[in-house]
């Protein structure tokens, strides 16, 4: 008698469980039910702008919602204020005009037709933000394409392919935007939001690298996450260094309390944030130091260069600054939280790290490399196709940078284990190999099939003028 009474109970339980499971699955999806962001056009904008908004909220709701949440939308700055171009300009989006003839789209009527450009450039932004753009145009960010084309062997010796460059180098450094014969943007150069993008209107860079479209948020650019999309990895691990430093540790512990949305010029140490983010030291105003969009401004050493030099002596792009003035500015930023003794002692360590890197590691290695070239033991024709060239390159470009940047931004593991420790190993290996060649007079082995070394060695005409 007992057994049969169990079965229905068990069955009920099973059904109950299934139902519960089913409901909870539905419940989990509940937050996703589609609510379209409302936007009533209550303030007057040109009818063409109404057309942009109404059509794009239907066709690209993500772009629309982003903009609707932006400060631009609050200030009644619409699509047109940034995307509008005068008729006859080179970068008019030809493909866009067909949408004004489509009756299935809201506002798809020819009366709303305006010439627009897909790419909004710093020049466009300068219509309302001239000072920010002026500062930015002086920075190494804006001019990074010129810099890498002056010093980088991957480009100048054609050691990687066009696509390796597009998906790698140029993704951060920026492309040279090309408009093809039909008026479309050359797909090899776009999409791109690189900091040094050379635009069709001649302006350099992309504000959307740090203030991503279509939010253009000041808060976003104040977070280290805005910088770490590019500043990471073996050759410039600024974000890893920051995360290891006390500054980064405190940021991660307290970021929920940070007020990232403070108005420009009001972001205050100790009030709005507890420890600095990248932007605090390199860009934001602090105490009496004015904010700047020139990230090169407050630097007193070029720690990314092969031989560490002062910014004004950095030959590929000499800064128009005086390092002593700039160091004083940076110290003023430090002073918001630190005493002079602390700051000076810190800079002492950093300066020593730079001097030691220059004199003990880089200069002897460079002298040896030059000797090998002079004696014909290494071939000058290409770079990276001989083992010692790679060793030399990694000494300054990888561990040499990690050591210097690690010392600068107070990450002991990067200053030592990923930095000077590896510099020592690399230096010894390089010197051993070089010594062997000099002793035996043997020429270095050349990799006969260097893979995918197909990239153009032609410097971009728009930056360097016509080349032979």
């Amino acid at each position: 008698m007992r057994r049969p009474s169990f079965l229905p109970a068990f069955g009920l339980l099973l059904v109950g469980l299934l139902l519960y499971g089913g409901f909870s699955a539905v419940n989990a999806q509940q937050p996703n039910f589609p609510v379209v962001k409302e936007y009533r056009i209550e303030r007057s904008v040109p009818p063409q702008a109404v057309a942009c908004i109404e059509c794009h909220r239907a066709t690209t709701p993500g772009v629309f919602a982003d903009w609707a949440k932006s400060r631009h939308a609050s200030a009644n700055i619409t699509c047109l204020d940034c995307h509008l171009v005068q008729s006859g300009e080179e970068d008019i989006a030809q493909g866009h005009e067909k949408y004004y003839g489509r009756s299935d789209l809201p506002y798809g009527e020819s009366q709303y037709k305006v010439p627009i450009a897909s790419i909004v450039t710093p020049k466009d932004c300068s219509r309302c933000h001239p000072d920010e753009v002026t500062q930015y145009s002086r920075s190494k960010h804006a001019n990074t394409l010129e810099i890498i084309w002056k010093i980088d062997p991957w480009l100048n010796k054609g050691m990687n392919s066009a696509n390796e460059r597009k998906t790698g180098c140029f993704n951060c450094h920026g492309t040279v935007i090309k408009i093809d014969a039909k008026g479309g943007i050359d797909p090899a150069t776009w999409p791109n939001a690189g900091v040094g993008r050379l635009n069709a209107d001649g302006s350099k860079g992309s504000c959307t690298s740090c203030h991503t479209r279509h939010r253009f948020s000041i808060a976003e650019a104040r977070m280290p996450e805005a910088c770490d999309q590019c500043h990471l990895g073996p050759d410039h691990p600024q974000i890893e260094i920051y995360n290891e430093s006390k500054h980064g540790t405190m940021y991660h512990a307290y970021k929920e309390e940070y007020n990232f949305k403070a108005a420009p010029g009001t972001w205050t140490a100790g009030v709005d944030y507890r420890a600095p983010t990248c932007a605090v030291c390199h860009m934001s105003g602090s105490g009496k130091v004015m904010g700047t969009h020139d990230v090169t401004e407050r630097l007193s050493w070029e720690t990314q260069a092969p031989l560490t030099v002062r910014p004004q002596d950095f030959k590929p792009f000499p800064a128009k600054t005086d390092w002593q003035v700039e160091r004083e500015k940076m110290k003023n930023v430090c002073r918001q939280c630190h005493s002079d003794a602390w700051i000076n002692d810190f800079y002492n360590g950093f300066d020593n790290a730079v001097t030691e890197y220059n004199d003990v590691y880089f200069k002897p290695a460079k002298a040896t490399l030059d000797e090998l070239y002079e004696k014909g033991l290494l071939s000058k024709e290409k770079f990276f196709d001989e083992h010692l060239e790679v060793e030399y390159y990694e000494l300054w470009h990888h561990e040499g940078r990690r050591a210097r940047m690690g010392a600068m931004m107070m990450a002991p593991d990067y200053a030592w284990w990923h930095g000077f420790y590896e510099c020592k190993l690399r230096f010894n290996k390089f010197m051993e190999g070089a010594g062997h060649l000099v002793k035996t007079g043997e020429k270095a082995y050349i990799y006969p099939n260097f893979p995918n070394a197909t990239g153009s060695t032609q410097r971009p005409e728009k930056i360097f003028g016509p080349q032979q």
């Binding site: 007057s44 040109p46 063409q48 200030a75 009644n76 700055i77 047109l80 204020d81 509008l84 005068q86 008729s87 305006v114 010439p115 710093p122 020049k123 466009d124 932004c125 300068s126 219509r127 309302c128 933000h129 001239p130 000072d131 753009v133 002026t134 145009s137 002086r138 804006a142 001019n143 209107d201 001649g202 302006s203 350099k204 004015m290």
Partner: protein, 192 residues
Amino acid sequence: MKKKYIIGAFLVLLGIIISFPLFSMTYYTMVRTSTPEFCASCHEIKPAVRAWRASTHANNAAGVVVDCMDCHLPAPQNTFEFLFAKTYHGVKDVAVHFIAREYDRKKARTAAYAAFENSECQKCHRNLLYMPQSRGAMRAHRTVLYARPGYELKCVDCHYDLVHNDKASVMFRQYREVPYQAKGLKPEKLGS
């Protein structure tokens, strides 16, 4: 005593007789040489006047016409600056006409932009801070009118190629296809 008065009156009369034609001739000269037609009598300037005639500074719903000297010279009520600038440019232009081989329009344009003072634009464009339909301009104009040291800008740094760009047809302000907006900072200002 009486003789003294007569001499005095005679001198005043003489002064009037001499100065009246002198002043009116100067005035007449000033008026005659202040018209766009006069400017266009030099072949070097003709293309600039032609472009201006087709521009919105000559064609707009308000019927306002802005002449060459309204932008290119100080205001006439600043008599000394006005007369000095006008005479200087007049003499210089005639001299250069005979000395220089070729007129480089591009170079002259750069020089003109460099010589422009914001006050020349602001003779007419005075209400620049409150434009509810153009918030961006409100922001940009504030940074120009109350510039931070080192960030001084000229109106023509963003509003350039506005008048003297060669157009195929006459441009009426009220018939603009798209709303007017400044072009953003000039390439020179962007370091390119």
